[in-house]
């Protein structure tokens, strides 16, 4: 297929990106403001021989996504706030069993039912620590319709390459906003598949790391019979509570992320000469930030901008370097201060960090950010 220009909303771009990445399975449950992802895939997946299923609840949907992935499918689910809370149970299962899958959270206001049709960025910490226990986390936060497409493709690639669930963290604004964007032609973005075993079935161990930190994963039904459990397990996949076997596996799950930052981390740093103030933002708040920085520039104030695309793992080293140069960092986010805690931690007290926050269901405006820039400049 060749390159194609379309006019899509973010949720549709997400679904299109999933298909581009080779997704052939969706399980979900209706929830505003993410439902268009499901509706799009309900139409498109059967046309190309894939499967779509609406489950009885979010928990079952997440379970089905993992079950499908174990057969070799590339699978995805999409949800929002209250639904994400329910996904978390089996998200942890996907972490410990190392089953690739993509979970889209189109953020809305909360807690609980909150503001179903209002935008929010209040699931930042949930994306990192939502499911219980120590676990790795990857969360990608695009800020445009085009980028929702490319980051969905990247989410699948990372999930497959690292054998771990990946969260795509968008919000109601970019999920529902329509923009012109380009669907790349086939082959323009590299598509990755999970490593599969090359040893004969009788020698296969599902968590064998002799070849590297990411163990090859066989498909159910391919002749490699193996056991999968949410209990701590050894390299054979069977449960163990032997301390000397449990801890290395727990650490390896984390190391899959920390040792692969080169392919996971993604951000844009827009540095201005002589600036003493910088902004760290992501998602739709980054769009307002961009306008605010342009307006400040017109009146002669330079402001640096770190836009995060990968939220988790958090790029502390980048913020730390930023803090060396700047007197102050502003963190606009549609919550009462979540990412700011990571920014403060990363800045290590070298610079002041202040937030611009909004939780009334309306976007943070460029004027709000500009006002803060003027206040501190």
């Amino acid at each position: 297929m060749s390159e194609k220009m379309v006019f899509y909303q973010g949720n549709e771009a997400c679904a299109e990106g999933a298909l581009y990445a080779g997704c052939n399975f969706f399980a979900g449950y209706p929830i505003t403001p993410s439902t268009e992802v499901a509706e799009f895939l309900a139409r498109r997946l059967p046309k190309q021989g894939g499967a779509f299923i609406q489950m009885e609840d979010e928990i079952a949907a997440m379970a089905a996504v993992i079950g499908a992935s174990l057969t070799g499918a590339k699978s995805i689910t999409a949800t929002s706030g209250p639904g994400m809370s329910l996904k978390l149970e089996n998200l942890g299962f996907a972490c410990i069993t190392e089953v690739p899958c993509v979970i889209v959270n189109v953020m809305r206001g909360g807690p609980s039912t909150g503001l179903p049709t209002g935008p929010s960025q209040s699931d930042v910490m949930q994306a990192r620590w939502g499911t219980h226990g120590d676990h790795p986390a990857i969360a990608l936060a695009p800020d445009s319709v085009q980028e929702i497409f490319t980051e969905t493709v990247r989410a699948f690639n990372l999930a497959e390459r690292l054998r771990t669930p990946v969260i795509l963290l968008t919000d109601e604004i970019i999920g529902h906003m329509r923009e012109k964007f380009t669907i790349p032609g086939e082959g323009e973005i590299e598509i990755w598949d999970r490593p599969r075993p090359t040893v004969p079935p009788e020698e296969y161990k599902p968590y064998d790391t002799s070849e590297g930190i990411i163990p090859p994963m066989a498909d159910f039904g391919s002749g490699y019979r193996f056991h999968v459990t949410g209990l701590n397990h050894d390299e054979t996949g069977f449960p163990t509570n032997i301390p000397s076997l449990v801890e290395p596996e727990e650490r390896r799950l984390m190391a899959k992320v920390t040792e692969n930052l080169d392919i996971i981390e993604k951000y844009e740093y827009m540095e201005k000469k002589g600036s003493k103030v910088g902004i760290v933002s992501f998602g739709s708040s980054a769009r307002s930030t961009r306008s605010a920085i342009a307006m400040a520039g017109e009146s002669g104030t330079s402001v640096d901008f770190l836009r995060l695309v990968t939220l988790w793992p958090f790029p502390s080293h980048v913020v730390n370097e930023m803090a060396d140069k700047l007197d102050l960092i502003i963190v606009p986010e549609m919550n009462l201060g979540q990412m700011i805690e990571e920014v403060e931690r990363s800045a290590g007290g070298k610079t002041e960090v202040i937030g611009v926050n909004r939780v009334d269901g309306e976007p943070i405006t460029p004027d709000q950010i500009l006002e803060k820039i003027r206040e501190v400049s």
């Binding site: 399980a27 046309k47 499967a51 993992i66 079950g67 159910f220 056991h227 999968v228």
Partner: protein, 269 residues
């Protein structure tokens, strides 16, 4: 010649975790014999479970096995089946796993009529956590969380499956192993969602507390207190005070993956 169970067992995984006198091993053997009768290909068979005593069974047997989260086995199994409909999918679950925390998945799997066979190891108690009452603990019985008698009422697995639309519904017991094997095998052979209520026993955390006698006494109780469905159909008065066993429903009904395959065929590019 004695049946060779070893051909379906994973070497080195026994002894199992089940207590002495537990009937789960008997149900496991019936499942293995049923799989053998249906000549399922080990590579093409997935056995899925949730959490609890019964849910440890997949670890012992040599198939593609998936031990998941509490109550969610049917959700995982549905994903496996939808993504690879050619695979044979069997779910094993306890009464708490299948009917309390997994109750929603149970009824919707029945309604969906997806070709999965569910065997409920129904021993009326949460055994693994030490004997708390479950959705099939009879009214008045003692459990660690009903120290003064169970004020709750029990689900009837067969009634629930029938009401929710399962197309194959049966009940057997760990005492009647030959019929139980047949009921499970027929469930596997059935194209649609099959529920087999496998009555079994937990002498350690249920029998002892309720003074139901030894492990053997508890199994023998099934002998004297059950009656076959075929007998009851002819003589309804025989059901008086008894648990009915046998096949309650075996209907031809369009299967979910078959229906979805028709959609794919209709709309595919």
């Amino acid at each position: 010649m004695a049946f060779d169970y070893d051909q379906y067992m994973r070497p080195g995984k026994l002894p199992h975790i089940w207590c002495p006198g537990c009937a789960h091993g008997i149900v496991m053997k019936s499942i293995i014999r049923a799989i053998d009768r249906e000549q399922l290909d080990k590579d093409n068979t997935v056995i899925v479970s949730g959490i609890g005593c019964a849910s440890r069974m997949p670890g012992y047997v040599d198939f593609n096995t998936l031990h998941t989260t509490h109550g969610r086995a049917l959700g995982f199994a549905t994903g496996v089946k939808m993504a690879k409909p050619s695979m044979d999918v069997i779910v094993v679950s306890g009464d708490g796993d299948a009917l309390a925390i997994g109750g929603n998945h149970f009824i919707h799997s029945c309604r969906r009529n997806i070709n999965i066979t569910l065997i409920v190891f129904n021993n009326n108690i949460y055994g693994m956590t030490g004997g708390q009452f479950s959705p099939t603990t009879p009214h008045g019985r003692l459990a660690s969380t009903t120290p003064y008698g169970n004020p709750d009422y029990a689900f009837d697995v067969v009634d629930l499956a029938m009401g929710a639309g399962a197309s194959y519904v049966a009940r057997g017991t760990a005492y009647h192993t030959v019929p139980l094997t047949r009921l499970i095998a027929d469930g596997i052979a059935h194209r649609g969602f099959s529920v087999i209520d496998a009555l079994c026993t937990c002498p350690t955390t249920y029998g002892r507390r309720n003074k139901l006698g030894s492990a053997t006494d508890m199994l023998l109780w099934f002998k004297g207190n059950t009656v076959g469905k075929k007998i009851v159909d002819k003589k309804p008065e025989k059901a008086e005070g008894k648990i009915i066993t046998g096949v309650f429903r075996q209907d031809e009904k369009p299967e979910y993956c078959d229906e979805y395959a028709k959609i794919i065929e209709k709309v595919s590019d």
